[in-house]
Amino acid sequence: MSDILSKIEKRTAYILILPAVFLVFSIILFPIFANVWISFKEVGLKDIRIPEPRAKKIVKSIKDNPDQLKVIYKLRNSSLILEIRDVKFQDKLPKNVKPINLDERCRVKSNKIYCEFGNWEAKYRENFQILLKSSDGKQLNKKELKTIKPKLTGKSDNILLNTNFTLKNFKKVFFQNEFFDLLSTTFYYTFFGTIGSIIFGILTAQLVNQKFFGRTFMRSVLLFPYVGPVVALAYTWELLLDPYSGTLNNLLINFQVIQEPLNLLGQKYLTINFFGFDLKLRLALTTVIIFEIWRYFPLAFLFILARLQAVPKELYEAAEVDGAGPLQKFINITLPQITAVISILFMIRFIWNFNKFEDIFLLTGGASGTRTLPINVYEQGFTISDIGMGSAVSIVIVALLLIFMFVYFKLIGKRADEN
């Protein structure tokens, strides 16, 4: 009895999860494997269109002969690079119509014309003609002929499906793509963005964890940057930071903080004289990191606040009895309580920042020293139109992420064991 039940249970479970698993598999897991496949191929954006045989039908009457009509099919291969094999053509004729002097590649069978055109090389074009004659002496209907559309089929190589592989893309990724520059930019962006958002998360969580007037309002406001649409926020920032008409620069100049406007998003380096040393600051990258922190610290805030609210009040009361000040309480009670959350946050934010595309794309488009790996995926794939190369870069991203996760779990796992 229980056996049957568990069998039914299993079957139900599979029925229930199958749709979701299928969808996730086809949209998320399959592309990841497909990426590996594409990254070993030389594929451009133009190659991914499947070549199609096409025909445009033109019906013409013949001057001296009202019983006859000329039908011209403008045939062509839609692809400029690939051939189509075994092109088959099929068109329907009205009932009272018969073709005369039919091309030898074609035959007629029950009011249909079938043709076999063989192979079409790339860019193939042909004007194919058929003369039609009325079989019962009635006038031929041009309109009716026009409305019937011919059907064409053919076989072609799909460049994505053949088995020609090459290592070219990966060679290019590592040797011709300023790879280490990309990697270091990505790393700066990810690392400082993550650390910054966690620090501001701790500060704001500590803030909101106290009682003050307007606390719930403050909590909503703090989450605004995170829930707002990235497009709107990025463009607002762009306008704010514009060197000439932007509010920030004009304010700073108005209050005499700076003399010249700063091109915060368009300038790669800013030289700062610091006690006689010239320090070079990556200006655009810093701005993008600040935007990143501004947008994502709310997440850290939310996590840490939830944890802080779960810290037992008695701990603080006991510390107070022992004569601890606010700073000591923070260091000795609050921090140890939130380290676990912080370490999870660090990993999550690190992974997501590593893959962040929209924010940089919208703010700078990857210019002035803000080109990270995800931006490079887009550039390679859609600006330079080299799909294979773009895939190779994204495979590198996945590999780096896996290494990061592995190392991180090893380290964290060890520390957890020691504790």
Binding site: I15, I348, I351, I397
Partner: protein, 397 residues
């Protein structure tokens, strides 16, 4: 009274005062009023003087009288320095000073003599400072977005700091940017598409996620643990990695530029987190209810519809809101898949608009307001649900 506490108290309170006054000055400048200087030294000195006076006077005067006195002194001195300011500027300064004086009222000589007082003072003011500063830094861009959409290109070029709105002009002039984006740039259509995609994603995601989450939460089957761990791992996989293969496949299947294609992708990317959130909630529903239902000869479908669904309305709404928000804000896939203006979502439309350098900025900002307001309204209204959704599913980028 300790000297250290005294110094900390007077310094940090005056810095706090300075930052309040400066923020007020920035806001005033943005109304087109000419104001060139923060007067750092003078305001800090005044702040220190007021905080020390507060200690000296202590409780000899009623705190209201004391605050008013401080505020009046400060307002007059400040008014003398800046001169020729509109009266509402001085009123604002007066209000800030009242607020400040009430805040420092609780510190007296005895308080500053107590243990850790210097630390406590610093923490107190940091909190106040943090509240003011964070609110300002976060709300400022939203404020600018809104105000810019009511200005004209010409006015902004003449004085980029003048963000005052002239309410005397007629309604049509004031909302001109909004009329333009709806009439000329077809934003009505984009709103419909965005709404359709987001709501559609919510519905389809829930249809797929609820049964799956129920199976993961309740039923025993081979590969269950594997499935529940892989849900989260899949969720961590970056969207940018999916873009190229999906683009190629969608091109070949003719799914690009179709709202349906977008809907499928959004559903797949939000499914893992929806399942994760829901199964956590389903586990908390007492099993006895279902056992009773089995006795009543209900099948699994019936159990989900009649027992699980009514009990999990809060969890389902938080998932729904969360998914809606993700779909509404999504940009990367809409950028990749849509290049025909007939099938743009709002985000993609705004990006398209900005691609044309000629587009006046107030149109761009009006578009941004249009795309931002629905999410913010939903967020503020359903905050309780959304926050729990965010915390549970907050791995989303």
């Amino acid at each position: 009274m300790k000297t250290k506490s005294l110094i900390y108290y007077s310094l940090i309170s005056s810095i706090f005062l300075f930052s309040l006054v400066s923020i007020w000055k920035i806001l005033v400048t943005l109304q087109g009023v000419e104001l060139k200087n923060f007067n750092f030294v003078i305001i800090i000195t005044l702040g220190i003087a007021i905080s020390l006076l507060n200690l000296i006077i202590g409780e000899k005067l009623n705190y209201l009288i004391k605050s008013t006195l401080f505020a009046l002194i400060f307002t007059f001195v400040d008014g003398y320095i800046v001169q020729a300011m509109p009266i509402w500027y001085n009123i604002g300064i007066f209000a800030i000073l009242i607020f400040f004086s009430l805040k420092i009222n609780k510190y007296n000589q005895k308080y500053l003599a107590s243990e850790h007082s210097s630390q406590i003072v610093v923490f107190d003011f940091l909190t106040l400072f943090g509240i003011v500063l964070f609110s300002f830094v976060i709300l400022f861009p939203f404020y600018m977005m809104l105000i810019t959409s009511f200005k004209t290109q010409a006015a902004l070029l003449i004085n980029p700091l003048d963000f005052s709105i002239n309410f005397n002009q007629d309604f049509k002039e004031l909302f001109k940017s909004y009329f333009v984006i709806f009439d000329t740039y077809n934003f009505g259509r984009y709103i419909l598409i965005s709404t359709f995609v987001s709501v559609g994603t919510v519905i389809v995601t829930l249809i797929f996620a609820i049964p799956a989450a129920y199976a993961v939460a309740r039923l025993n089957f081979f590969g269950k643990n594997f499935l529940s761990t892989s849900i989260l791992i899949i969720y961590m996989f970056p969207a940018i990695v999916l873009v190229i293969p999906l683009y190629t496949v969608f091109s070949q299947l003719g799914l690009r530029n179709s709202v349906g294609g977008l809907l499928i992708v959004y559903t797949a990317t939000t499914l893992p987190v929806a399942i994760y959130m829901l199964q956590g909630y389903f586990r908390s529903i007492p099993k006895e209810l279902e056992e009773a239902a089995i006795m009543d000869k209900l099948n699994w479908f019936g159990i989900i519809i009649k027992i699980i669904l009514p009990l999990s309305i809060p969890a389902i709404s938080s998932v729904a809101l969360y998914v809606f928000m993700i779909a509404w804000n999504e940009f990367l896939f809409s950028l990749m898949f849509l290049d025909n203006p007939n099938s743009f979502t709002l985000s993609r439309a705004i990006q398209y608009l900005s691609g044309d350098a000629e587009t006046p900025r107030q149109y761009l900002m009006a578009g941004s307001v249009v795309v931002t307001i629905p999410v913010l309204l939903i967020f503020v209204y359903f905050e309780k649900y959304l926050v729990s959704g965010l915390t549970a599913g907050s791995v989303k980028g």
